[in-house]
């Protein structure tokens, strides 16, 4: 590393270079949050897209009168059997009372209250892949065995949700792009300042036969090292924030926000951010130096 950073120019002492790691740290921190957001939305959109095309929910209203619970259970069972007999249905599963209570707990409180309310029961239906069931005919048949049954087709609202998520994902990528541009702009500014400061030294190097590439390499290596250092700092800063957000999301109950977690591969992608910031800075510094030097003899 010391050999890599050995320089004939005193670039290591530049004030402009001393700020670069801090600025890159902030940029990598922002990029890290945006990228993890984009990657989480990717997996979420995958899941939602699969759900939108393959699932339905059947709602069976609670029966009233004496033996209401027993009657409701019987209606649900008849509806499940009817659905299972349909060739276009791959699977029909009644959502248990316990699961229902769990889902409604944030709104209704304790399970006892739910017992006293005519809460409709739900049947989770997976449609055979590729099948397009006639929902009007199906609901007619369901109502014959479970009066008042309704089919909740997720597709409309899920499509809107997907559009929103896609918009957010686009925004996240735009943030990453802006962060990259801002980082490059900072490197250009720092490099131009350093070039102006070291112009007498650069002239000497030129006069003893140094090529533009030789001089540019010295700035580029320094920019790589400083940006890598800053990038590692920014990543270290973002890790606890991501854990914190993940923890907060997990604490939300009732499926309001689907579980958002990053897989091992996605963490590895985040680990690539500091070297990518380093490479971006290196290439930017090299191009800036070479473009500036062409104006000298």
């Amino acid at each position: 590393m010391i050999g890599f950073l050995r320089s004939d120019l005193p670039v290591a002492r530049d004030a402009s270079g001393q700020f670069l790691p801090w600025l890159v740290a902030v940029m990598v921190f922002l990029a890290c949050l945006a990228l993890s957001g984009a990657m989480s939305l990717d997996s979420l959109l995958d899941r939602w897209s699969r759900d939108a095309s393959g699932t339905l929910t059947v709602q069976v209203p609670a029966a009233t009168g004496a033996n209401a619970d027993t009657e409701t259970d019987a209606r649900v069972e008849r509806a499940v059997r009817l659905l299972e007999s349909d060739a276009q249905v791959a699977r029909a599963t009644a959502v248990s009372r316990e699961r229902l209570a769990e889902m409604l707990e944030p709104w209704l409180g304790s399970a006892e209250l739910m017992d006293s309310l005519p809460v409709p029961r739900l049947i989770d239906v997976a449609v055979t892949p590729g099948a397009m069931p006639d929902l009007d005919a199906l609901v007619e048949r369901l109502r014959a065995v479970a009066p008042g049954a309704a089919i909740d087709d997720h597709r409309v609202w899920l499509a809107r949700l997907i559009r929103l998520a896609e918009g957010l994902r686009l925004l996240a990528w735009a943030v990453i792009g802006l962060v990259a541009l801002a980082t490059a702009a900072m490197v250009v500014h720092a490099t131009r300042t350093a070039l102006a400061v070291h112009r007498p030294h650069i002239e000497v190097l030129h006069l003893i036969g140094a090529t533009d590439a030789y001089i540019a390499r010295q700035f580029a290596r320094r920019a790589f090292a400083l940006a890598l250092l800053g990038g590692v700092g920014g990543l270290a800063l973002s890790a606890p924030v991501l854990w914190g957000i993940g923890g907060l999301v997990q604490r939300l109950e009732g499926g309001l926000v689907p579980e958002i977690t990053l897989g091992m591969g996605q963490w590895l992608v985040l680990l690539l951010l500091p070297p990518v910031a380093g490479l971006l800075s290196m290439v930017t510094a090299r191009r800036t130096v070479r473009r500036t030097l062409t104006r000298l003899l």
Binding site: D8, P10, P200, L207, I208
Partner: protein, 243 residues
């Protein structure tokens, strides 16, 4: 080892003129040729244009008009990319030394070798040897700001000769050293010249010019004359400058 090879032309100036910006020409219609392996003093009063002429020789600037050929290559209109390989064949001692203050004497002298891609092992074998020869063996790791004017000058000279240049250009290389050291340095240049290096030394030191008996390029008011060696005795001439 490179031998002097007279007959080939190292430098050819033809009708060269130089002006800074829109000012008057500081060099006018300069024409001369330097054979490979020759040794010339560049003399003339202060302000005559010696440093400007040398800067054209060591490719720090291009002429406003005319043609300059170095080692047979036209350089007045050469592409930028063609200049570094030519500059590596030159050794330059600048008037203000132009050492890099953050580097040690050793690293300053090693610069031309590093730029040329010479390995560190070779650098650490040759550079200390040369620094010792110019009397700076005990100051190898000293930085220029801690060195005296004469010591800096010797570092600058060592940097100019470390890569055995084909053309050595020196601007007042003995201006800051005592007579004994000046003589020693001139002997170094003379030795290099015997090995084939073409040497051009700008100097005001008439004693050295008389002693070494090399021909002179004499500049006065922007015009150049090629004069024979100065006689060993006799009064100072217009071609001899001041001592």
């Amino acid at each position: 080892m490179r031998q002097a090879s007279h007959g080939k032309i190292a430098v050819r100036f033809e009708s060269v003129g130089l002006r800074y910006g829109s000012g008057p020409e500081v060099l006018q219609d300069i024409s001369f040729t330097l054979d490979q392996g020759s040794f010339h003093f560049l003399t003339g009063p202060s302000g005559a244009g010696k440093t400007s002429l040398l800067s054209l020789l060591y490719l720090a600037r291009r002429p406003s008009r005319g043609s300059i050929r170095l080692f047979g290559e036209e350089v007045s209109s050469a592409a930028r990319a063609a200049l570094p390989p030519l500059r590596r064949r030159l050794g330059v001692v600048f008037q203000e030394f132009r050492l890099l203050d953050h580097l040690s004497a050793l690293d300053n002298v090693a610069l031309p070798l590093r730029v040329a891609g010479v390995g560190e092992a070779d650098i650490h074998r040759h550079v200390p040897e040369l620094l010792a020869w110019v009397g700076l063996g005990d100051h190898m790791h000293a930085k220029p700001p801690t060195l005296s004017g004469g010591q800096k000058q010797r570092v600058a000279i060592a940097r100019a000769v470390i890569n055995r240049p084909e053309l050595l250009v020196a601007d007042e290389p003995t201006g800051n050293v005592d007579d004994r050291t000046a003589l020693r340095l001139l002997h170094l240049f003379s030795e290099l010249n015997k090995l084939g290096t073409t040497v051009v030394i700008a100097t005001h030191n008439e004693g050295l010019v008389r002693r070494f008996q090399f021909p002179r390029l004499h500049l006065e008011a922007g015009k150049l004359d090629v004069l024979p060696p100065m006689s060993l005795t006799g009064p100072p001439t217009s071609g001899g400058g001041q001592s």
